[in-house]
Every structure is written in C-alpha cells, then in structure tokens.
C-alpha cells in the first residue's frame, strides 16, 4: 500500500523533471547584465553584443588564487578604430571589477594575458569598449577546484 502510494506520488514528478531540464538551453547562462550587474554602470544603458571578443581561460582552474587568462578583441587598432577600454569582470568575486585596461592605437594588437583570482566557480566576462563607443563581450564558465589537503603551513 505504502509502496504504491509512494510510486503513484513520485511518478508524475519524475516524469516532469527531465521535461523541465529539456526546456533549458544547453548553455543556460543568465544575460550579461544579470551575471555582472556592474556592467550597467559601465555601459550606461548601451547595448553589449556578444561577439568580437575572445576569452581564453581554463574551464577547470586548478587553484582560484591564480587563473591564467588571455583576451583578444577583433579590432584593427588603427587611429580611428581601436579598443579604448577592456574590462575583466567577475560574477562572484567580492569585487566584480577584476581589471580595467586602457589601450590606444599604439597598443597595436588588442590582446593581453594576465592572471586572475576567482573566488569559487563562476563566469568571467570580458567587455571591450571600442573607440566608437560600442560594447562587445565574451564570457566563460570556470570551475574552480578546492584543495583536498588543507594547508596551514604558515601558522607559526
């Protein structure tokens, strides 16, 4: 009796779950403005298109203290058409702006490599503002693994 009740109650639920999951797109990610609300202040309402920016970062970061990151922007970097500012933004760090980089035509190529800190698994967003004022972006999902052996070797 108990068994059949449980089964009867659970079956419809179990049937619903895969349906609900199936309705989500494969790369479910909130819109950029929700992911990194600070972007609203940066863009002042201007549109951000997810194109022209390439963000290379390990999908599985070994340690959140140092995550290598390379960003490049598709731009000719001429006197009239160049990347003015590049923002590196974090979804979950206590301070969402990781860095703000100013470039100029003399930079030659809109590409850089640095190393960032990530406080837990999250999205990282790179946003470029071009010399014409338009915004372009790319995001990446990074899993940050925790260490198995807790280290307190600095305790004296």
């Amino acid at each position: 009796m108990l068994k059949s009740m449980a089964g009867g109650a659970l079956l419809p639920l179990a049937a619903q779950v895969p349906l609900a999951l199936a309705q989500l797109p494969a790369t479910a990610r909130p819109p950029l403005m929700e992911l990194v609300p600070v972007l609203k202040e940066i863009t002042q309402g201007a549109a951000v298109r997810e194109s022209r920016v390439k963000l290379e970062i390990p999908h599985l970061a070994e340690n959140g203290h140092l995550v290598p990151l390379t960003v490049s922007v598709d731009s000719p970097m001429t006197a009239t058409d160049y990347v003015r500012t590049l923002y590196l933004l974090s979804e979950k760090n206590p301070r969402p702006i990781i860095a703000k980089i100013s470039m100029s035509p003399g930079t030659g190529r809109a590409a850089l490599t640095t190393r960032i800190r990530l406080s837990g698994a999250q999205h990282v967003v790179a946003v470029a503002q071009m010399s014409d004022g338009t915004f372009w972006a790319a995001s990446a999902d990074v899993i940050v693994t925790e260490t198995a052996c807790l280290d307190a070797s600095d305790i004296t």
Partner: protein, 265 residues
C-alpha cells in the same frame, strides 16, 4: 570541501591500516618506481608556469636573490660574491648535494642553514628568518645553479643517524588522521584526493612557488603543510625533525633532476 578532503584521507587511512601495521623492525626504505617528479603529476597550467622562466612567478625571487648575492651584508662588509664570485660558476651543482653534514659543526645542514651560517660567521650579519623573502630569494638563486642536475646525497657514517631518523618519521603514522608519509607518497602516488593528484613527495623543486601559498616557500614549509594535512603537530621550519626528513627524502629522490625554482599547485 575541507571536510570532504578529510574523509578521503580517512578512507586512505582505513585502507592501509592492515598493510602497514607498525612493526618493531626498522623499515627497509625504498624509492618509488618509476621515480617521478611532482611536475609529472601537475596540470597544464602549473607546467606552463614552471617551463617558461619569464612566466614563472618564482623567478621574481631569483632576481631578488641575484641582487642580494652581490650586496654587502653585516659588519664584514662582504657580499656573497666577495668570496664566492660568480654564483653561476661557484654554486653550480651545490644544492643538489644538500642537506649535508657541516664539517665545522658536525651537524646536518640544509641550504637555508648553510646560507645563514655564511651570514653569521663570514659576513657577521644577522641570520635571515626562515620563510623570509630574503632567505627564499638567496636559496632560490643558489638552487637555480643546480637546475637540471640530479639530486645527489651520500649517506655515510656521518649522517646515517639523521637518515634513519628521517626514514622513521616517513614511515610513522601521525596526527588525528593517523597516516604516515608513505601511505600517500609511496603507495598512492598518481591517485586522486579530490582534484589533487598525489605526488611522490620529492623536494626537487624547492624553494618553489605554490599557487596555494600565492608566494614562494621552502621545502620545510611544504612538509609542514603535509603535517597539517594529517592533523599532526607541525615541526618548526629548520627543526631537526624536518632536516632529518629532508635528508631521507633527498636520498629517496636520488637521481631526480633539481627543478629549483619550481612551481606547484
């Protein structure tokens, strides 16, 4: 996360309690085969950092060490270079033979201790604090001159007691988790603890830059981290326990190439 790590360590402890019941007989030490450096167990990011001397954050300490090598210190007004000239020549291969028994004091000394001995006796300067940027920098700079050379310590009548003490520490269960070094680093290297791959526990990259520390650290600091990992009492850096263990581990890694200054997770 921390708790999950502990549970995994506990599992290891249970798995091996039957195998290595403590016996009164001295343990016959052995080297893991094939002998593998920790870099072989490291991920792509760490390997990339260690491979490129400009990318490696550890090289900042080498740069500083080179400066310190040439700077006069103490009442003598001497720098390291005053006596030892060009470290690239005079220090070549030197660190690969440490720790060794100092002929004057008849005590086991590691590279850090040897540098401080030079400071106090020859330069008449205050010894540098263990884990200070200065001592790490000088150790890294001297260690770099042996990079690529095989670790080569000789166990003889002078250091045999140190070797045996170090060996006994390596094979003795300790801490709340009740594991010995051997349980992870002889029997389980290459296997996973969460996302960490267990290494064979060699000292060949030290002093090394650890991402976990966000700075350079000595081999003794790394050993202390393992003591903490099994929830044992942490011996102080530079203590006799760690020096003896360092000697045993150097013997155990005999033939592995020095990677100083290494990079580890």
């Amino acid at each position: 996360m921390i708790r999950r790590g502990v549970v995994l360590l506990l599992l290891l402890a249970v798995t091996h309690s039957a195998i290595s019941a403590q016996s009164a007989q001295p343990v016959q030490p052995f080297r893991p085969t094939p002998l593998k450096s920790g870099i072989d167990f490291s991920g792509a990011e760490v390997r990339a950092l260690q491979q490129d001397d400009f990318s490696s954050p550890a090289m900042l300490w080498v740069t500083r060490g080179e400066k310190l090598w040439n700077e006069p210190a103490g009442n003598s007004g001497k720098s390291c270079a005053t006596c030892h000239k060009d470290a690239r020549v005079s220090m070549k291969g030197v660190s690969a033979g440490y720790p060794k028994v100092d002929p004057d004091t008849a005590k086991l000394t590691n590279l850090e201790g040897r540098i401080n001995q030079c400071r106090t006796q020859n330069q008449q300067a205050a010894p540098l604090r263990y884990e200070s940027d200065e001592l790490l920098a000088l150790t890294a700079y001297v260690g770099l001159q042996s990079r690529g050379q095989p670790v080569n310590v000789v166990i003889d009548t002078q250091n045999r007691r140190n070797f045996e003490r170090g060996r006994d520490i390596f094979y003795t269960r300790m801490g709340q988790i009740n594991l010995a070094c051997t349980h992870c680093h002889d029997r389980n290297f290459g296997r996973k603890l969460l996302n960490d791959t267990i290494s064979q526990g060699h000292g060949n990259p030290y002093p090394a830059y650890r991402l976990e520390w966000q700075t350079m650290g000595s081999f003794h600091r790394r050993l202390r981290a393992c003591f903490f990992g099994v929830r044992a009492e942490l011996p102080p850096a530079g203590s006799q326990d760690l020096l003896d263990l360092e000697l045993f581990l150097a013997w155990r890694s005999q033939g592995l190439k020095v990677e100083t200054p290494g990079v580890r997770k």
